[in-house]
Structure formats: structure tokens, C-alpha cells
């Protein structure tokens, strides 16, 4: 196994983005040739639109969009939650990850509508983001502004938690035992 080396932050897009948005704050990481651009939540939509349309970036394909909960992660992170955009450029055969960190302002054990956990939806840039954004909302409780139809997707509407958060136990909090039973007379 090769020794871990220091990240090489020479991905060409890092420089392009920095030059394009001089006032904004960016961070970059790299591991095994995979580069991640870290963007502030308020700038995410603008930067992603630029990455999609700029002639030297051309990340026209949103391969995936997902959330991460960094509660008790051994390495320090900027915020507790992250939303990652997995972008691919078809013209340049290049993959870039864009990451946005969010910090909750309310307790995370329920389904409270936390004003700090909001991001601009990218459905207007990539219509394919619709379901993945719904999944992030379902699993992490991160809401997306201007999403056409932000409902839960894998769990049911009244599910009392966001199950992929790290403070949600593996076996659940008894939802399975307290399942509402609908019989023929009440259906």
C-alpha cells in the first residue's frame, strides 16, 4: 500500500474557479487523484452553474448528489453535514466533486425544519437532481429551496426522523413496532 502523500491541489478547475470568483472562499482537497472543491453554501448554486456552462469546465453531467453526516468524524470538518455533487465532464472525461458544508442550528434528533439546513436546489441546472435531492432531504433533513416537489422518497411521509443521520440508531427508534395498522374497516 503506497504511503499517503500530501494532496496535490493542481486540478486546473481550482484555479479557474478562484479567478472567476475572487471575492468568494474556496477550499480544495485531493485524494488518489480525485479532487474535491469545497464551496460555501450561499455560493453553491452560482458556482455549479458556472462549472456547468463555462467553456473550460463543461461539467455537463451530474452523476450523483448525496449527503454525508460528519458527526464524530475523527478529522475536523467545516460543518456537520455535507452535500456532495459528483460532476462529470463528457467533453473532457473528468470527474470533480463539489462539496458544501452545513451546520445545524437546532437539535438533529427529530424532523425540525432547521433554517440553517437549506440549500438552493440545482434542479434548474440538472433536472436529474430532483430525486437525489429528495433523497438527501429524506435521509438527512437538508431542504432545497426552489425544488419542484420536495417530498420524502424512500421512507413514508410521517416518518419521525431522518435515518441516515449519525445520531439515528441502526435499529431505529421503534418505528417498526409502532407501525400504524390499517385494516379493511378503516381504510
Amino acid at each position: 500500500m503506497p504511503a499517503d502523500t500530501k494532496p496535490t491541489l493542481d486540478h486546473p478547475v481550482f484555479k479557474i474557479v478562484k479567478d472567476q470568483f475572487p471575492g468568494k472562499r474556496f477550499r480544495g482537497t485531493e485524494y488518489r487523484g480525485q479532487s474535491t472543491l469545497i464551496v460555501d453554501p450561499a455560493d453553491a448554486h452560482e458556482v455549479l452553474a458556472f462549472l456547468r456552462d463555462d467553456a473550460s469546465c463543461r461539467y455537463n453531467f451530474l452523476s450523483d448528489l448525496f449527503g454525508i453526516d460528519y458527526l464524530n468524524y475523527p478529522s475536523r470538518t467545516i460543518g456537520r453535514f455535507a452535500v456532495v455533487y459528483n460532476l462529470v465532464s463528457h467533453q473532457r472525461d473528468d470527474r470533480l466533486f463539489v462539496k458544501v458544508f452545513l451546520d445545524p442550528s437546532l437539535p438533529t434528533d427529530g424532523t425540525a425544519d432547521d433554517p440553517a439546513l437549506y440549500l438552493d436546489s440545482v434542479v434548474d441546472l440538472w433536472p436529474g437532481a430532483e430525486w437525489p435531492e429528495r433523497e438527501v432531504f429524506d435521509m438527512f433533513g437538508i431542504r432545497f429551496r426552489n425544488h419542484p416537489d420536495l417530498r420524502r422518497i424512500l421512507t413514508w411521509e410521517s416518518y419521525p426522523a431522518h435515518p441516515l443521520r449519525k445520531d439515528y440508531p441502526l435499529r431505529g427508534r421503534g418505528e417498526r413496532e409502532q407501525y400504524r395498522i390499517v385494516d379493511r374497516t378503516s381504510a
Binding site: 480525485q34 455537463n60 454525508i68 459528483n86 470527474r95 437525489p132 433523497e135 416537489d149 422518497i153 441502526l170
Partner: protein
Amino acid sequence: MPYTIRPEQGIDVDAESTGYLREHVDTGERWVLNFGPQHPATHTTLRLVLELDGERVARCTPHIGYLHSGFEKLGEHLDYNQYVTIVSRMDYLSPIHNDITWHGAVETLFGIEITPRCKALRTIMNELARIQNHLLCVGAAALDLGAITAFLFAFNPREKIYDICDFIAGQRFHADWTRVGGLMQDLPDEAVFRKLVKDLVNDDLPRAVDEFEGLLNANRIFIDRTQGVGQIGHDEAVAHSLSGPMARASGVKRDLRKDFPYLCYKDNWDNAGAPAVEFKVPIALEGDAYARFRVRVEEIKQSMHIVRQLIDAIPGGPVDTYADAKMVKPPKKDVYGSIEGLIQHFELVMSNRGWKAPVAEAYGCNEGPNGEQGFYIVADGSPRSFRVRTRPACFINYSVMARLTEGHLLSDVPAILGSINVVAAELDR
């Protein structure tokens, strides 16, 4: 008995209006049909709420999650070898393919370079898994349209692929065949393996493909029911993040095996100058259900071509990376025969020991039968991943279902569903 819409009660469909609704006046004849979750044509548990205008679909709302089993949550509690048993249950039409993707991603994270023999075997099985998946997809798509014979023709060679899985891993269905840095075991008998695979790709499979192509390719009923049905164009396919045969049937020239080569799809894979395996990426331009069928059949032929190139060229040598890595379980011979092997085995399997993973994140992907399947692993230094995200090809491909069905007849819905090839276990995870 269908029921009419009662707006005052709120109906369970999307709020935004669709193209069809904008162009067609509401005749007051709209009714709602619930399709699934238990229906032979949904194959697994999917539910569509169809708002119909006579027999035409005015609005389609897919509801998923009936098979959600928390695979990603489970991934945070199982170690890098154990999780393969869960992964294998995702796209269960081709279980081995999931195994290969998962351990490919783990090896990217750890920086392990697997041995040439392992690469060749994984590539062969990856392609057989693709054939396995496509055979079921085209067979079942035909079955939904009433052509049960084609389904049976497609199913016979699938059985042979299961026999091969059984032979190499001891399990027909969920083989759980890969391990970090190698395979669960080397081939029990290489000559027998070669014979099984050659019989398949030189005899059974070409015959079966001929048979069901003969039944379907010039079949008036099949063509009428699939041509022009569920069309999606190139730009829209890219914007909707489609991948795999779905995208290629719309003219998107993308294949991870060519764009980001890995395993034997990459030049110099055996470190002795072997060229990448040769194959073509079939493309269709129509973007309808028939084009998706044709692309899949063509991919079966290309996969056979890849297997034929490799089956006589499997390199010798070990199948596991062992000597230079402390990340893989040693072969059983060493565990029982040497003190170092015994120590390393227990270092990896004891619950308070295990892998020393880096504190880092890595993504590994593989061109799957349904498109790009990948795993994004967040590792925290412990033997278990901190977070593992699947890039589910079916989930993302299925999200265009509403867009594809609207404006079509109710009888086209199974045709479109069959052409997307949605596997609910991967859809809901």
C-alpha cells in the same frame, strides 16, 4: 373499480402540471389508476399513480421505497469485507457485478493494485454479469408485452451463468465473490471454468441470442409496441443524469469502460504490456424502448466478445494481493501453515482489530448493466466505512419514468417499465 378525482380531498399526484395536461383540455373524464406495488409487470415492488384521460396517461407519479432496507446505513456497521454480502443484493439480476464495483471502490480507497489474474477473472465475471442482467431485461420486457417464448429463450443461458457462479464461489445467486485485494478463492479448477465459460459464449448464448432476436427483431407486434414509445432525446438524457444503455439508446456516447478505464479495459493491465480488451460501444439514436432493447442485445454480443478474448489469456500467479499488502486476508494455506499468516488473518478478522483505513474519501465506479454504479466511501480509519453512498443507476434512470410515460397509452406503461429495467432492490436500497 377506478374512481374519479375529487379535488377537494387532494389527490396524491405531483403538483406541477405536465406537458400533456397543458396541451389537452380537461374533459372531466379523468380518472386515477393505481398501478402496483404488487403487479406482475412491475417485476418488484413499485407503485405508479396514473392519472388517465380515457386510456391515455395524463400524469404519472412514481412512488418508491417499498423495498427500502437501509443498505447505506448497514454499510456503516459492517466492515469492508462483510458489506459485500449486502452490496450483492442491490442489483440482484447480476449480483457479482455489485461485488466487483464495491471492492473496486474499496481498493481505490486503500490504494491497492490487484493482481493481473484477479483483474482478468473479475473482468470475465463482470461481463458475464452484464449478459445475465441484459438477458433478463430483454426477456422480461418481451414477457410484459405477451411474448413468453422469448423470455424462456433468454432464461436458459442465464441458468448456465448461475452454474458458473456456483462453480467459482459455491453460491448460485449471491456469490459474494470478491474480497479486499482479491477474491474469496482462486478458481477451483481452471480447465473446468474455461470449459463452462466457453460452452456458454460459443454455443448456448449465441444460439439463444439468435433465437430471441429472431422472435422479436422483425416481430410486428413487438416493434409496434416499443418503437416510438418512451422516447427521450440526447440532451434530455444527459440533463436527467441517465447512464448505461438508457443513455446510449439516446445517442449519448458514454461508457465508463472507455472513459475512465479500469480492470482489463485499460491498456497494460497485466503490467507486461497487454492491450485493453477490444469491444465496441453500441449506440442508438432513437431513444425509445425499441432502441434500448437493441442496445442491450448488442451489448450482450460485445460482452461475449470480451469474454472470448480473455478466457484463454487468464494470467497465472496469485489471485490475492498478499505479499506486499497488509490489507488482505492471507490464503488459508498460510493461515494454517505460517505464524505470520495466522497473525495477519486474526489482525483482520478480530472485532477490535481490522483494517487501518486512511481517514479519507474515495469514489470507485464500474459500468454496470444499467449504467454507472459507484460507491463513495468516507473512511474514518476504522475497519468500517464511516459513510458509504451508492450511486444507484436504477434510481436515477427510473426518475425519468414520469417524463417517459406521459401522453402514452396505459398499455405502453409496462413496455416503458420493462425497457428501463428497474431493479427495486437497487432503486430503494
